[in-house]
C-alpha cells in the first residue's frame, strides 16, 4: 500500500539538506532565545549576570525566585487571571452555544443579518470601547472588581466563538437531530446531549484559543484592575519592569514564574492551539 504521506523521492542532495536543516535550526534557536535568556538569567546572581550576560550561570541560585514570591502578590495575580479566564470562558461557551444552536439550526428572520454583522466585531480593537465602558463601570462602582473584565472579555470573545460554533454546528448531520426530535427531545436536550458532545474538538479548540486571549490580555486588565490585589498576572509582569529595573535577575525570575502557567498548558495541548489558529481560516 502506497504511503499516503508526501516523501522526498529524489535522492537528497547534501547541500540542500544542510541548508534546510540549517534554516530550521536557526529559526528554532531564535524562537527559543528569549526563553533561554530568561531562564539562565533568573538563575544567576546579580554579580554573575553583570559580568556574564549570555552564558550559563557559574552557580545556580534560587534567591531570585524567592525574592519575587516574597515581595509580590504574584500568586494572587495568577489566581485573578485564572478566575477571570475560567468564568469568561464558561460564560462565553454557554452563550455562544445557545446562539450558535439557533443560528445553525433554525431559519429565522435576522439570522443572515446576525451572521454577517458578527464579523466586523472581530476586527474592531477593544480600545474603541474602553472609555464608555469605563464610565459605566465607574457608575456601577465595579471598577477594580473582576466583574468588569469578565463582562468585557466575554463580549469580545462572543463574535468569534459564535462564528466558529455556528460553522461547526452546521456540519452536524441533520439525521441525528431529526431522530432525536422524533424521540421527543427538547431543544436543550439536543444541544447538551447531542450537539455539544459531537462538537468536543471544536469546543476544546475554542476554549484553548479564547483562554490564550484572556490570559494574555493587557489593555483592558490594565485599565479596569488597578489595585494590587485584583490585577492580573500579565499586568503585574509589566510592573516588574519598573520595579526591578536595575535588578535584571529578579525581573527575569518574575517573568519566568509568570509564564510557566501558559507554557505548561501549551505543552499539553499544543494540538489544539494549532487547530485553533488554523480554524480562523475556514471559509468565510
Amino acid at each position: 500500500m502506497m504511503k499516503t504521506r508526501y516523501r522526498k523521492y529524489s535522492p537528497p542532495k547534501v547541500f540542500e539538506g544542510i541548508v534546510k536543516y540549517g534554516i530550521m535550526i536557526l529559526f528554532i534557536l531564535s524562537a527559543l532565545l528569549p526563553l533561554y535568556f530568561v531562564v539562565i538569567t533568573s538563575l544567576k546572581t546579580k554579580i554573575d549576570y553583570a559580568g556574564n550576560k549570555l552564558g550559563f550561570p557559574t552557580h545556580w541560585v534560587f534567591s531570585n525566585f524567592i525574592e519575587v514570591i516574597k515581595s509580590n502578590l504574584i500568586f494572587r495575580w495568577i489566581l485573578n487571571s485564572l478566575i477571570i479566564t475560567v468564568i469568561t470562558i464558561a460564560l462565553c461557551i454557554i452563550i455562544s452555544c445557545f446562539a450558535s444552536y439557533a443560528l445553525a439550526r433554525f431559519r429565522f428572520k435576522g439570522r443572515d443579518f446576525i451572521l454577517n454583522a458578527i464579523i466586523p466585531f472581530m476586527i474592531i480593537p477593544p480600545v474603541v470601547m474602553i472609555i464608555p465602558l469605563l464610565l459605566v463601570a465607574v457608575k456601577l462602582k465595579i471598577t477594580n472588581t473582576l466583574i468588569g473584565p469578565i463582562a468585557i472579555y466575554t463580549g469580545v470573545l462572543l463574535p468569534f466563538s459564535i462564528y466558529m460554533l455556528t460553522k461547526f454546528f452546521e456540519t452536524i448531520s441533520q439525521e441525528i437531530i431529526d431522530s432525536a426530535v422524533v424521540d421527543g427531545c427538547g431543544d436543550l436536550r439536543i444541544l447538551f446531549n447531542i450537539i455539544m458532545p459531537l462538537s468536543k474538538p471544536a469546543l476544546l479548540t475554542l476554549i484553548v484559543v479564547n483562554s490564550l486571549y484572556v490570559w494574555n490580555e493587557l489593555l483592558i486588565a490594565l485599565i479596569f484592575l488597578q489595585s494590587n490585589t485584583t490585577r492580573t498576572l500579565v499586568v503585574g509582569l509589566t510592573l516588574f519592569k519598573s520595579r526591578y529595573s536595575t535588578n535584571t535577575t529578579i525581573l527575569m525570575a518574575g517573568l519566568l514564574i509568570g509564564s510557566i502557567p501558559m507554557i505548561a498548558i501549551y505543552l499539553f495541548s499544543q494540538k489544539y492551539f494549532v487547530k485553533g489558529l488554523v480554524a480562523g481560516a475556514v471559509k468565510g
Binding site: 508526501y6 527559543l32 550576560k53 474603541v128 464608555p132 468585557i152 463580549g155 525581573l251
Partner: protein
Amino acid sequence: MLFKLYWQGIFEYPAGNKSKEYMKKIKPYFFVAPAIVWLLAIYIYPIIRVIASSFVKAGLPDRGPVNIFNYTILFTDIKFWYAFKNNLLFLLTIPVLLILSLLLSVILFERLKGWQIAQGVLLLPFILAIPFTGIVFTYLLQYNGTVNEVLRSINLGVLAHDWLVEDKLAIPAIMGVVIWRDVGFGTVLFLSRLMSIDESVIEASMIDGAGWWQRFFHIFLPQMRSIIEFFVVIESINMLGWMFDYIYVMTSVGGQNLKFATLDFYVYAYTFAFKNFGVAYAACVILLIISIVLVFIRSRVTRNMVEV
C-alpha cells in the same frame, strides 16, 4: 417576570411540537437573545457613545452643539500623524512575515526529522504573552544590553545603539519583535494548508520530474493563494489596531511626544495621560473607519476561500 417567560420559552416547548407554531417561530430568538444583549452592551452601546461624543466639544453628548472641534485638533496634531505613520510602518512587516513563513512552512512540509517539535517551538513566541517577550527584548536591546554587548565583543561596537530609544531605530526594532512573534503563526497556518493539498498531484509532479522551485511555484503557491490572502488580512488587522501591548511594554510612554505610538496607544495616551477625551473619541472613530475598510477587504478575500 421577563426571565420566567424566557425560561418558559426555552424549556417548555419541545423541538417538534407542532401545535405551538408561534412559539416555534419565536424560539430561536430566545436562544440568540443573551448573545445579542451582551453584544449590544459591550459593542454597540460604546461605539454609538464614542461616535456621538466625538462630534461634541468636551466629549459629552449634552454639552454644546455638534461640531468637529475634536477632529480639527486631531488632524492638526502631529502626534496623531506619528501614530498613523507608525501603524502603516508596521504593515511593512507583512511581506517579511510572508516570505519567512512560506519558507519555513515549505521546509517543515518536507517532514525532516523533528519537524513536529520545530512546529511547536516556532509557535511558542506566539503563545507567550506580549508583555513577557516584550520585556525580555527590551532588556536585550538596551544600550548596555546583550545585543550591544555581543556586537561590541566582535568588534562591531560601532553598530551598538540604544535600539528602543533612538528615533529611527525604535519602530524597526519593535517591527523585528513583531516579526519574531508572528512568524510561528504564519508558518503553522501555511503548513496546515500544505498538508491538505492532494497528495496525488504532488506525486504526479515528482514522477514528471518537477524540481523544487517548480513544485513551489506551480503547485504549492496557487493552492495557498487564499490562505496567504487570509494571512495578510489578519496581520493587517493586527498591525492597524492591535499594537498596544508592544508599544506599552517596549516604550512605556510611546516615546517622546508619542513618536513611537500607534493609533490604539494614542487613544490610551489621550484618555489616561492627557485626559483629553474628545480627541480620544475622534481617534477611536478613525480606528472604526479603518476597521470597516478592513472588513470590506476581508469579505472580498474570504469570498473565494477553501476550507483548510
